[in-house]
Amino acid sequence: MHHASLEQIQATSSPRVEGRLNAYFAFTALVLVLFAPSRLAYVSALVCFVALGVDAAGRDYLTVVRLPVYFLLPSLLLVVLFTSGSTALAFGPFSVSWAGLDRSLTTGLRSIGSITILSYLIVTTTVPQLVAALQSLRCPRFVIDVSLLTYRAIQILLTELARLELAATGRLGFRTRRTTLRTSKSLAFSLFLKSLSRAEALNDAMLARGYDGKLPSATTASRGHSYVAVVLGCIAIAGWSL
């Protein structure tokens, strides 16, 4: 997934829940799913957050969800294959146990349910909004400031990397495996140097504007409490009562 496009997705998404509340909402949903004793909680999270995500960001949401799922499948397959227990299926040298199937189903559903929540958070909430949520949870000032500055520095360095990659492509830098490794080493070093000068520039820019050790933070009003109550209620009821 491309970074720049993510920011466009965030800029154009229109979530039902806004502000710090949205971050708390997603965090709480993740924790509920993590500890819910019933798989129904995972399914209800999946349904609710796919609906909320598609509603907020359309097809872009599905693109974000898809990538982690590709990573998930091989690990699930392993879990199915090696978990011992009474045999459910056998083909050639492989046999699959009931316990393995059960465990994979649980893990797979929990993971996909959680991924839909994380992806929802990704497409609807910018990093500054998330950091504002952390801040109101009394996270130390140092961590808050460094997090915001890191995000800005990531933006800058990714842009620089994209330009360097373009230049290197124009000069045949990624033509073969060997040239790719050599080019990557060079680009890593160029980025390192740019990092150093960026750090100086960032520090100068902050000093020039009277920085005394605190960054201002985002303030978007929270909205959508009813959606939060309904979704979290669904997950909790599905997880503990049914």
């Binding site: 993590l34 090696f82 130390p140 890191t150 750090a199």
Partner: protein, 208 residues
């Protein structure tokens, strides 16, 4: 290689948060103390974390078909030491989850333990023990390769503890061997490529 969001059961997610938290707190306090000094300000700390993040976006030669990405923690531990690396890696893993969907928030503790703490620590020990006998470039190569491989071994163990083949120690061992064996197909060459990248980078840095 990160563990996906929601993949670990609640118990194990908590356990790894419990193990990672004190180390990351120590790393944070130590980094904050360094950042009070004029030579390495908050801006420097932030850019260092951003640098490690962006390293993972570098195009690398493909191994076994898929493109690979360096974790950058081997380079980080050689440049900044293990305590600062623990803090920086936490930031990096957080942003990888929030910006790229790699890893996750519930599995952050587990991923920080493997990629931000144990891997770099072992890599750092390798660097310190190699350095008196060889040049910077080779020592960095060793540190980065070992940090990468250790990270993936720890990840295999984390998965095995959560998903043992059968109850008991031997079940965990069986699972760990299976996970490690399957992941080794990609992770062994990725570690070597990352080592080559780190060594090249350090030799350039040493020139400057």
């Amino acid at each position: 290689m990160h563990i996906m969001e929601g993949f670990l059961p609640g118990f194990w997610a908590l356990v790894w948060y419990g193990i990672a938290a004190p180390v990351v707190c120590y790393g944070t306090v130590k980094t904050a103390r360094i950042a009070r000094d004029q030579s390495m300000t908050k801006a420097h700390v932030a850019v260092a974390a951003a640098f490690i993040f962006v390293l993972s976006a570098l195009k690398m030669p493909s191994v076994t078909g898929s493109t690979s990405h360096p974790t950058g923690t081997g380079i980080s531990v050689v440049l900044f030491g293990p305590a600062v690396t623990a803090f920086l890696s936490t930031l990096v893993l957080l942003y990888q989850a929030l910006l790229l969907g790699h890893g996750g928030l519930t599995t952050l503790g587990a991923n920080v333990t493997s990629m931000g703490i144990v891997g770099p620590l072992v890599g750092w020990l390798v660097f310190r023990s190699l350095r008196p006998y060889t040049d910077l470039q080779k020592a960095t190569f060793g540190a980065a390769v070992v940090a990468d491989w250790t990270t993936y071994l720890v990840t295999s163990l984390q998965l095995a503890l959560a998903f043992p083949a059968e109850p008991g120690v031997s079940g965990v061992v069986d699972s760990a061997v299976t996970f490690a064996g399957v992941f080794s197909v990609t992770q062994l060459p990725v570690g070597i490529v990352e080592g080559a990248l780190a060594a090249g980078l350090m030799s350039y840095i040493a020139m400057s």
